[in-house]
Each structure stands twice: as structure tokens, then as C-alpha cells.
Symmetry: C2
Subunit: 128 residues, 2 copies
DNA sequence: CTTGACCTTCCCGTGACTGGAAGCCCTATC
DNA sequence: GATAGGGCTTCCAGTCACGGGAAGGTCAAG
């Protein structure tokens, strides 16, 4: 399986897969011509990565999660801690964004959005 | 007013203020010794920037908003459009994050978090 | 034999800073 | 007058997770 096929099967862009190799997340073997060849294990790792990334885990978390996955003697507590920390970050970000959204919604509502220069949005930004 | 005082008054790190100068968002004059000197207009612009950035507007939006603010002949519609587009992006991101949060919350709930290796989180990531 | 679709590496750019090094400037103190 | 400190300057590198694009090798089909 060449990188193009793998990209299709995992949904990851070829560029991303090459990047993952560069930082040591996958290590496909090479054919004589230099092409990467991916076996089932590589595909599995990449699928795992795609899913973990889709859940927003940073790359280094993904690396750790992969290591834990491979380790039969892991404690699920270690996995859970990573997930909980990440979850906390996400919840934090949601709160920040909601606060921005609320302010912006209010301001946009107040603004006439016509040809006149009078604008509560700018007024608010200017007053600090 | 030197950069340190301005940093305190605006809440922006000195590094950030220098960066804003570098990309042309402020243009403080210089003293003979090379130190930046900020006048009231600079302070006002920086306060505006701090507030716009706090609402999540990207730098280039901030640049445009500053230009609109200075332009007495602006149409509030132009400001409103920028704010609405930005708001839409934020709402998008909130939805993405909420989806991640929901999945993660579920997985974390399912995971015992003990010494045993059995872990629904890893199971979910692995199955893709 | 050529075309076109693959694949390779390499390097730069993204956004908005942040950290750190090397060095100048100013004031206060001994 | 030397020195210590704090603040200021510039410049360079790093962040995070890729994406774009150039220059060139490879392979299957016609």
C-alpha cells in the first residue's frame, strides 16, 4: 500500500502522513524505489491517530496514547487522566468562546448595519 | 510613556506591543536613545487592539476595524459584516468543541480509571 | 517514447506571539 | 567614579500541526 491509498483509507492527507513519519509516529518500510509501504499495523496506527486528532488530542498526547495502547500492562487510570485533562482544556475553551459569542451577538444585534457611520461595535471596542 | 508603562496600562505584554509595531498596527515615535515613546493616540489604538483581540478578532480584522474606526465616512454595515463573519467562525468552533466534549465526556465516564489495562477510551480510538 | 499520475525530498509560510541572548541606557548607591 | 539593577533595544529561534509548491525520480498505459 502506497501513501495515496493510505491517505484515502485513513482520511489523512498524504502530507500529514509524511509528517507523522517525520516525528516518529509511524515508521513504514520503504521499497527499493524509495516509496513508503504501509502494512496493516501502520494503517491501524494512522487510523488511531486520525481518530485521536479528531477528538482534539494534541500530537504528544497521541504519542502517549499510542504507547499506552501498545502496553498491555497499562493502567486505565493513565489513559483516563490524559482524556480528562484534555476534556478540561476543551471545556475551558468552550467557555471562552461562548463569552466572546455572547458579547459579539449582543454587539451585532445593536449595529444597524447600514450606510451610516454610527456603529456600536466600534464604540465598544474604542471605549475598552 | 515607555513600553513598560504602556504594557501595564493596556494589559498587553511589551513583546506583543513591539510585535504590533513591527506589523504596522502602531507607530510610536522614538526618543534620541532609541526608546519607544507612546502618546495618547497610541495608547488608544493599543486599547482598541487589546479589546478586539480579546473578542477573538484575528489581527487582520483588527487592522481593518482600526481603519474603519478612523474613517468617519465608514458604513456600519462594513463593521457589522466583519463581526458577523467572525461570530459565525466562533459558533462553528463552539460546535466542533462541543462535539468533542460530548464524545470525551462519554468515554471518560465509561473508563474505570483504575490499575487494570481495560480501557474503553483506547478501545474507541482503536476501532476508529 | 511520451504522457500523466504517482511518489520523493526540501524549504518556506501559517498566526500571533513567546523565550532568550547580547548589548545599550539610566539611575542609585557605595 | 565604579558598579549593580532594572529597563530598553534588536535579532533569532521556537511554538503547533501541518499546507503549498518546486524540482525531480518512478511507473503503467497507450
Amino acid at each position: 500500500m502506497n501513501i495515496g491509498d493510505i491517505a484515502q483509507r485513513t482520511g489523512l492527507p498524504a502530507k500529514t502522513i509524511r509528517y507523522y513519519e517525520e516525528i516518529g509516529l509511524v515508521t513504514p518500510r520503504r521499497e527499493a524505489n524509495g516509496y513508503r509501504v504501509f502494512d496493516d499495523k501502520d494503517i491501524h496506527r494512522l487510523t488511531f491517530l486520525a481518530r485521536a486528532r479528531a477528538l482534539g488530542f494534541p500530537i504528544e498526547d497521541c504519542r502517549t496514547l499510542l504507547a499506552l495502547y501498545k502496553d498491555d500492562t497499562r493502567a486505565s487510570a493513565d489513559v483516563k487522566r490524559i482524556a480528562q485533562d484534555h476534556l478540561a482544556q476543551i471545556e475551558d475553551k468552550i467557555l471562552q468562546l461562548q463569552s466572546m459569542r455572547d458579547t459579539l451577538t449582543h454587539l451585532v444585534h445593536e449595529c444597524a448595519g447600514d450606510n451610516r457611520p454610527d456603529c456600536p461595535i466600534l464604540k465598544d471596542l474604542a471605549k475598552g
